[in-house]
Subunit: 242 residues, 2 copies
DNA sequence: ACCAAAAGGTGCACGAACGAACCATTGACG
DNA sequence: CGTCAATGGTTCGTTCGTGCACCTTTTGGT
């Protein structure tokens, strides 16, 4: 291999990734993301501590610390005793009301990443044999976004739930994780900057196009529809990143 | 939201992911992956411990433990003193000589995931303003694969280096990580099952098509070429997963 | 009203991971 | 040959994370 000198350090620099969070921080982030994306909605109860700790693969003490942090952030409340547990109290903030700590480069990267993994998930979802229940769920998820059009916060939650639903139907754990990550950053961006209301009607049509293609099993159409949808959001947000 | 009952547990089950590795294990895996994929090739020296620990975001003690594990696996040797360090001794194993511990479902998922993220990375790479050095590097990476055609082990390394090069040129950390993960699993699969030699000539042409499209800045062509390439490998491997 | 079960709350011992300091080896250079 | 710097090797005290056992609170059911 007669590669020029600059190549020597390229792959290591690109591939080696620093760990940036410990177990506690990772647990907080995973739960906070799940709550902010509507995996658990306002008023909904998280699984019991023992179950949740096992599911997340962490010690119960660590999970308790994480839940305490969520409590401090106002995302949940807890009550002890039978019938008690951890209940979500989070509602999506008004756009523009929460600054994000992420840098512009990371935001742009997440938009690029999203542009790849969300259409990919839609493409794969369209190739799955979907049950009647799954089909019903997908349609209901899209309907829920439309129904929440008048309430900015609820709309945000319903929107991310819709995207997660598409990803879930891909039945690919790796893609679900990727879409979740992309949605988490998107949620941060949208909370940090105002959303133009006129985009909402158009995005419901784009959702419907995705749903239609997935239900028809047309993978290329599903991907194209989701690409169009991501591009529309992306164009809106890139102008604001700088 | 009038969703049916099954929907209540769908998102949490899909989105909540258990932690499966501790810091030591993660470090071992990251280094082993980098070595197995050719980020550091046989005879090449890893960065000094102190630097590597900082780059990976772990304590030096943990890194030393990880390097000891790599030593035990025969991937590296170490020498103390000035001019010393950790040197890679890994060469790609003969196909079919190393069983994989991953399950069929995880393998299939990785193939699906790869089918999404590698074309996506090629698409994004084609949209980048590439320097002359980067272009030279990309071409050299593809050439290296062709030159290694007679040596199965070296070919495997050159092939994964080519794919990582494409991902690196996407300039998207999130996509680079995703492609790395996909390549890691692919490498395991290929090490576990024999490769039919007749596929090699064809894949170099597919590489060239990717390179050509990326250099021309044709994002759709880059993506299509990489899709075709991934599909060819995938078809070969899926028949063997079961 | 009482009991049992669900669920959060607490404490403890141990191992993992951390950061810092120091030691030993090795080789380049004057 | 001696010195110094690079690099791996070792030790130590602290914090984090773990698994386990036990306690307290609360409520549903009898």
């Amino acid at each position: 291999m007669s590669a020029p000198v600059p190549e020597v350090g390229r792959l290591p620099a690109a591939v080696l990734r620093p760990a940036t969070a410990n177990v506690f921080e990772t647990t907080v982030e995973q739960l906070a993301t799940a709550i902010r994306l509507g995996v658990f909605v306002d008023g909904e109860q998280l699984p019991p501590e023992r179950e949740l700790a096992e599911r997340l693969g962490v010690a119960r003490g660590t999970l308790r610390d994480a839940i305490a942090a969520l409590r401090d952030s106002g995302l949940v409340t807890t009550r002890r005793g039978r019938g008690g547990g951890t209940v979500v109290t989070y509602t999506s903030p008004e756009p523009g009301s929460k600054p994000t700590s992420r840098r512009g480069a990371a935001l742009a990267d997440a938009l690029d990443f999203r542009r790849v993994v969300e259409p990919g998930a839609a493409w794969l979802a369209a190739r799955q044999e979907l049950s009647a229940d799954q089909r019903t769920w997908l349609v209901a998820s899209a309907d829920a976004v439309r129904e929440a059009a008048q309430d900015t916060g609820a709309h945000r939650i319903a929107d991310s739930r819709f995207h997660l639903a598409v990803a879930t139907l891909s039945a690919s754990p790796m893609l679900i994780e990727s879409v979740t990550r992309a949605q988490a950053v998107l949620g941060e961006m949208l909370a940090a900057i105002p959303v133009l209301p006129r985009n909402i009607d158009h995005s419901c049509d784009q959702h419907d196009a995705v749903v239609d293609a997935v239900l028809r099993g047309d993978d290329d159409a599903a991907r194209a529809a989701m690409e169009e949808h991501c591009d529309a959001t992306s164009a809106l947000l890139r102008g604001l990143i700088g």
